[in-house]
Amino acid sequence: MDSSYHAGLGSVFGTDRSVVITSSYISSPLGEGTDINFQSLLEDRSNFTKAEDTYYGSLYKGICQDPKMSDLHDRKVSKVITRKDFIGIVAALKAATKVGIGKDCGINPERISVYSGSACTSTDDLSPYYSLIKKSYTAGQYDPKFFGRHLMEEVSPMVMLQTLMNNILCYVSVALDIRGANTNYLDFQTSGLRSVYEGACSILSGRSDVALVGSSSAIPELFLDPNPEDKLGSNNYKDYLCFSKDGTSPRVKPYDRSRSGTVMSEGACFLVLEEKNHALRRGAPILGEISYMKLNAGGSSAMKEGSYVPYGVVGSLSGTNIDKDDLLIGYGIGARYMDQNELMAYSQVFDSHDFMLYSSSGNFGDMAEAGNISNIAVATKILETGQIPPTSNFVCSDEPGWNISGHVEPFSGNNIYVTGLSLSGTGCTIKISRVVS
């Protein structure tokens, strides 16, 4: 049996169940809600703000609107969560309530599952400890005993609760009374796609009828080392991030030969997945069907430098038969090696490149854990509107033969593939198909 799931592969689970998307919500620097975000993509907008001046030039980042306290189900919760949790919880609640998923909604709470992805604890989250570390230095030497002795006087238990990485999963479950299968993934940029994958499996296998899936990230902890020798995995930061030499907002150029890096952004995206007949019975809108998914590891060093083939992407795409009318939404963040390596993976899988390739990162920036899953929400809007937004700032690829456009293009196909690659080497691909009524 193949390890990938194709349309109708509810049969893998001995059922004829299928999974559709009935709701989505994107929170990004471009705005709140899937419709607003998609319109911004069509208009080729970006919204990057200056973070600081660095050794290499001005550094920019993408920031969401400040979440409103009133969007939380319980204001007290704001004291024990971090910003990434806040953004994620609000996106999840908005996606769910839009299609009537919540307390006393008439659906058995044990038949609703929730799968979240999350960014990890950041150095910002640890800032309450900084002043004590500072005090623990005497005559230029750090004294760990001093730190240990005085830690209890300085730290609030709230800090520990804030650093729990399953906060979104917990608070969303409590707010919506979700009691079914659940978990929380920490798979970097593929966390969101992983949550979609498991949510769909949960429905296909008959364990759930509805799954709330998504991921969030609040990156702008820039952890930038001005030392050019500092490496981040496959990329030197200098090659990874986009710097502006003239102080104007930088241009992120996915797949373009003149690409010079990405802008780190924060955001969140949640989707409601539902068993197709369940959705039809209750009259929920059907935005697309999940008809293929596959997950793989890279199997090579997760922190490799420079040019290499990301086998996680190769593996996750290996079961696809992309047609020329289909669309592939790649990760394409505009970082030199990452784009190049991603295209190398595609070249290994596909003999020809006659299908269209698109990236939203020129507008969103690199939304990390929230990036790839946002592309699924974007895919549903492409199916609905028949319009593919421009791959921002794209003029010419450094490898010939790729069908990428810097303009709005029509889309009349039925299938869109969304693929992602994580820093730890994981690759994941999800296919969204048009549902013909």
């Binding site: 150095t123 900084y130 230095y137 399953n166 009691r179 296998s205 090579s300 820093l423 994981t426």
Partner: protein, 434 residues
């Protein structure tokens, strides 16, 4: 779902009671406590001065080439993964010239802890900053300019799965899970599902964590969750006992090789047990509390029984989550009582946290390993310090705890429970090979 059967062909353990599978198991069966005074930092002024630390640990170079890329918990994880891979015979096979294993059918599923940077490392980073600033915001900003990205990646919990895949060139489905104390119960459960669903033939699965560092320990200390029985470390962790006063923080790892049974048989692998059921629920109550009626914990056990095609009388032994906190022990005992009361007598129950303390994200995998070894050796380790059981009494009779002395018993089917901060509950069922 398909009829594929999942079995366990390798087990590795690094724990406060031993840094190998057999050493840890021998001590668990003998009821040896891993709790002692905290040695990693000066806790002399803390309300809690005890923990279950891993002792005399050295990462084997054969396990991983560069320990500087791993934080403390990932070192434990990598060492236990190496032991499991050697135990399963797969390490040799993968390194042989004619390796027949398809790397795209061999995946990784791990449960991990929070993974914060150790204060010592933060201090090193801060040394290069505007250290004399009295403004913490400025201090934080200057830190961000000097952080070494490699150090951050070393401490990112998502990296462990990547390193495992990298170490053995594994290209199958890979996941990193964090649901607090349920993390590695979930990692095993999801690996089981992935083999059942034919996404992989082999999964390297389990968990690693270290709660013995000062930042997390301080947090739990302030929450009042830790035992303060500082004068009697070995008697501090006492799940289900009347005199319990909190859990004992711990660290370690356990990794297991899960394999499709026909695949294992074809290569002549030793099979410990089959994984036959996995239940997973969400309590949807509060982040740190359980619903008083045992909701969620009860349904996880029932779900696992349904998945296994078993009834409650099939279960011989439950390795309970049993943390030694008032709330968990009472509610878990109530949930067990609700699930099993109608069978007439209860399965035998213990909590090996009485010896190991609470490994948080690694607890589920370690306790699953002990459950499987109970089946192998027909022995149930004791719940030590269980002098006055005060929960699990019901109109149907009392729960059958294996208190203070091991019990020689032919365990055919064992259940292992995990209950997490955040509301996630899991239950795994293992069955011996006929």
């Amino acid at each position: 779902m398909s009829e594929r059967t999942v079995c366990v062909t390798g087990i590795g353990i690094v724990s406060p009671v031993g840094n190998t599978r057999e050493e840890a198991w021998k001590n668990i069966v003998q009821g040896v406590s891993g709790t002692d005074y905290i040695s990693q930092f000066d806790a002399s002024q803390w309300p809690t001065r005890i923990a279950c630390e891993v002792k005399d640990f050295h990462l084997d170079k054969k396990a991983f080439h560069d320990g500087s890329l791993l934080n403390r918990s990932n070192e434990f994880g990598m060492q236990s993964a190496y032991e499991a891979m050697v135990d399963s015979g797969l390490s040799d096979i993968l390194e042989s010239k004619n390796n027949p294993i398809d790397p795209y059918r061999f995946g990784v599923s791990v449960g991990v802890g929070i993974g914060t940077i150790a204060p010592q490392e933060l201090a090193t980073l801060l040394r290069g900053t505007d250290f004399h600033s009295t403004d913490d915001f400025k201090l934080a900003s200057s830190l961000e300019k000097t952080v070494n990205s490699k150090l951050l990646m070393k401490n990112h919990p998502g990296m462990f799965a990547g390193w495992l895949a990298s170490r053995w060139n594994l290209r199958g489905p890979t996941s990193t899970i964090h649901t607090a104390c349920a993390s590695s119960g979930q990692s095993l459960g999801q690996a089981y599902l992935q083999i059942k669903r034919s996404e992989a033939d082999i999964m390297l699965a389990g968990g690693a964590d270290s709660l013995a560092g000062e930042l997390l320990l301080a947090g739990f200390c302030l929450l009042g969750a830790l035992s303060t029985r500082n004068d009697e470390p070995a008697r501090a962790s006492r799940p289900f006992d009347r005199d319990r006063d909190g859990f004992v923080a711990s660290e370690g790892a356990s990794m297991l090789v899960l394999e499709e049974k026909e695949h294992a048989l074809r290569r002549g692998a030793h099979i410990y047990a089959e994984v036959v059921g996995y239940g997973e629920t969400q309590s949807a109550y509060r982040i740190t509390d359980l619903p008083p009626d045992g909701r969620g914990v009860k349904e996880a056990m029932e779900d696992a029984l349904v998945q296994a095609g078993m009834v409650h009388s099939d279960i011989d032994y439950i390795n309970a989550h049993g943390t030694s906190t008032e709330l968990n022990d009472r509610i878990e005992a109530l949930a067990i009582s609700k699930v099993f009361s109608s069978r007439g007598c209860f399965p035998y129950i213990n909590s090996t946290k009485s010896e190991t303390g609470h490994l948080i994200s690694a607890a589920g995998a370690l306790e699953a390993s002990f459950s499987i070894l109970s089946i192998r050796d027909s022995v149930i380790p004791p719940s030590i310090n269980l002098d006055h059981p005060d929960c699990g009494k019901s109109e149907y009779g009392d729960l059958r705890f294996v208190a203070n002395k091991k019990l020689n018993y032919p365990v055919k089917v064992a259940m292992s429970n995990s209950v997490g901060f955040g509301g996630t509950n899991t239950s795994l069922i293992f069955k011996g090979i006929d």
